[in-house]
């Protein structure tokens, strides 16, 4: 019944054409700016990679690039770790509790990013709850300076994107063959081995989707790094915003955008690789 290609195309193409026309094409044109010589007085044009070599020759840009990469990677890894624990806990709940808890987990997505970021200023401040708790518990003597640092951005991004990871992993865990974990247990695997050898490979799709969302989100977030980090902790996205809004340098902005997109794609591919690598090795053995 589902063999008619024309039918399938008629259904799928409107969305694809729409996305291509209003999204892909304009974005690609904009991105192509990064590969063109600027036209000055009618001279110039043509393709070049000079904008990229320029970009990476600046030590500032290198720093910002690495910082963005690092933060993105850390947020992704940490949200994966916490995400698995949380998703495990959630899928083991009864259906009603599961629905409620899932609701709470997605709550951060519904709070305006602006207000949420300000709430972090309150929480992470010198007199904020975290510092008060640390001092009360004797972990620190003086207030820690958490705000306006990579740590603050990390916390802000983690809270922002953890829900996406948890949701992806919940559905991955629920789609996992029901008896795979018990089977591994009965075959002698401890919990760590169960996770590493069975759960991880079987929830790979969810991890890849969640990981891509989190990583890409972290790279392209704007408000959180701008307010919680400021120019002390520049990220590629804030740098790009400067290029567009302050310097009207669309070429530089295109270059940064292109780099961000490539990073997202690369992360997606890397995540797929990481999750499959173990099995490839096995199959060869």
């Amino acid at each position: 019944m589902f063999q008619n290609r024309a039918e399938a195309l008629a259904l799928a193409l409107p969305a694809a054409i729409f996305a291509a026309a209003v999204f892909l094409v304009p974005v690609l044109i904009l991105l192509s700016d990064g590969f063109r010589n600027p036209v000055v007085d009618g001279v110039g044009g043509g393709w070049t990679l000079s904008a990229f070599t320029d970009f990476f020759s600046s030590s500032l840009n290198q720093t910002v690039f690495l910082r963005t990469l690092r933060l993105g990677a850390i947020v992704t890894v940490v949200s994966a770790v916490i995400g698995y624990a949380a998703a495990f806990a959630i899928v083991s709940l009864d259906p009603v509790a599961k629905g409620r808890v899932t609701g709470l987990v997605v709550l951060p997505l519904m709070i305006s990013p602006v207000a949420r970021t300000y709430a972090w200023i309150v929480i992470l401040g010198r007199t904020g709850i975290v510092n008060q708790a640390f001092q009360a518990l004797g972990i620190t003597q003086a207030p820690l300076r958490i705000l306006f640092s990579e740590t603050a951005i990390f916390i802000g991004l983690l809270q922002l994107f953890l829900p996406l990871m948890i949701i992806s992993l919940i559905s991955a865990l629920e789609n996992m063959p029901k008896d795979a974990i018990p089977a591994a247990r009965v075959l002698g695997a401890n919990w760590f081995q169960v996770f590493w050898k069975v759960v991880l490979p079987l929830t790979r799709e969810g991890l890849v989707i969640g990981g891509t969302l989190v990583f890409t989100g972290s790279l392209t977030a704007y408000i959180t790094p701008a307010i919680l980090g400021g120019s002390k902790v520049l990220m590629l996205e804030t740098l790009m915003y400067q290029q567009v809004a302050v310097s009207s340098n669309f070429v530089a902005a295109s270059v940064i955008a292109f780099i961000l997109i490539v990073m997202s794609f690369a992360a997606n591919i890397l995540l797929k690789r990481v999750a499959t690598a173990r099995n490839k090795v096995r199959a060869a053995a």
Partner: protein, 319 residues
């Protein structure tokens, strides 16, 4: 069909503007006023993008942005002959950039808001003192307050070159101690309240909330003086409503409107005929003398060096 005038302004105090400026003007001209708000860089970037078919007829921006717009060919000369209130303006508001493309409508001072119980500020350089540096916020170079504050700091440390290198280096050396380089001045009230910071250079127009914090916050008068800025009006090149725009500008510059805006502490007047009580004056940047005393960065300097500032700033602070 009803005529429509589109203006682009700062987001500040829109409710009051509506009451004092927009609504009365709409009644006056029998036209519709559409207001776009945002910070000046974003608005300018959009004007640039819309160059071919301008959306905005008239905008208010900073002096430097006005020059930038003029250089980018986004603005037209203002027909000052048609501004009945032109003569009443302070001289330095009449043609701030000397190109006939803009008219000033308000001034603001930029100085330092600080906790008078925790510190004493006599010079811009005091902010970087070791015992203070870890309690201050500094405006990011991309904000309107950033360059003026650096400009003054340059004077204080005796290195006031147009490229602001000296000041930027001085700030850069303290970057780990300085609490933050703020983007949005609204943050500062929150930070001050939480005792995250004791001091920050701010524009006078954001001063009011600090006075309501219930903390001893004072407005500094450093020995190098205060800096500040002038906001100006421009008309967009290719605007189809030039007449209306000019009419609107004239209305805004009128003594009546400027007085009302001053009395609400919204804009310090640029109209010489505006008279306010001392109490009100104390909360504004009032009077031609005061205006003249502000150490402003010339627009051309600002413009020519802006990219360089951002670059050296990012290098000193951002890595």
């Amino acid at each position: 069909q009803e005529k429509t005038l589109t203006i682009s302004v700062y987001a500040l105090s829109q409710d009051e503007y509506k009451q004092i400026v927009y609504d009365p003007f709409q009644k006056l001209c029998g036209c519709k006023l559409v207001v776009e708000t945002g910070n000046s860089v974003e608005r300018l970037a959009k004007m640039e993008a819309n160059k071919a078919s301008p959306v905005v007829d008239m905008a208010v921006v900073s002096m430097a942005d006005a020059l930038a717009a003029a250089r980018a060919g986004l603005t037209d000369k203002i027909d000052t002959a048609k501004l009945s209130n032109f003569g009443k303006l302070y001289d330095l508001a009449k043609d701030p950039n000397g190109d006939g493309m803009s008219v000033g409508y308000t001034f603001y001072a930029t100085s330092i808001a600080y906790r008078s119980d925790k510190m004493k500020i006599e010079s811009w350089a005091d902010l970087l003192k070791p015992e203070y540096a870890s309690h201050i916020a500094w405006p990011n170079v991309t904000t309107n307050q950033g360059p003026p504050a650096l400009f003054m700091l340059g004077k204080a440390v005796g290195k006031d070159t147009p490229d602001l290198k000296g000041a930027i280096t001085a700030v850069g050396e303290k970057k780990d101690e300085i609490v933050t380089f703020y983007e949005k001045s609204s943050q500062l009230v929150q930070l001050m309240k939480q005792e995250e910071i004791w001091a920050a250079p701010i524009g006078r127009f954001t001063w009011a909330p600090f006075t309501k914090l219930g903390l001893p916050v004072a407005w500094a008068t450093p020995k190098e003086g205060q800096t500040g800025g002038m906001n100006v009006m421009i008309v967009t090149k290719g605007s189809k409503n030039r007449e209306l725009a000019t009419q609107f500008m004239d209305f805004w510059l009128s003594t009546e409107v400027q007085t009302k805006l001053a009395e609400k502490f919204i804009d310090s007047p640029a109209n010489r005929d505006v008279k306010v009580s001392d109490e009100i004056a104390a909360n504004l940047t009032y009077g031609e003398e005061t205006a003249r005393s502000l150490k402003l960065i010339p627009s051309a300097t600002a413009l020519d060096n802006r990219a360089g500032w951002v670059k050296s700033w990012n290098e000193a602070v951002g890595q």
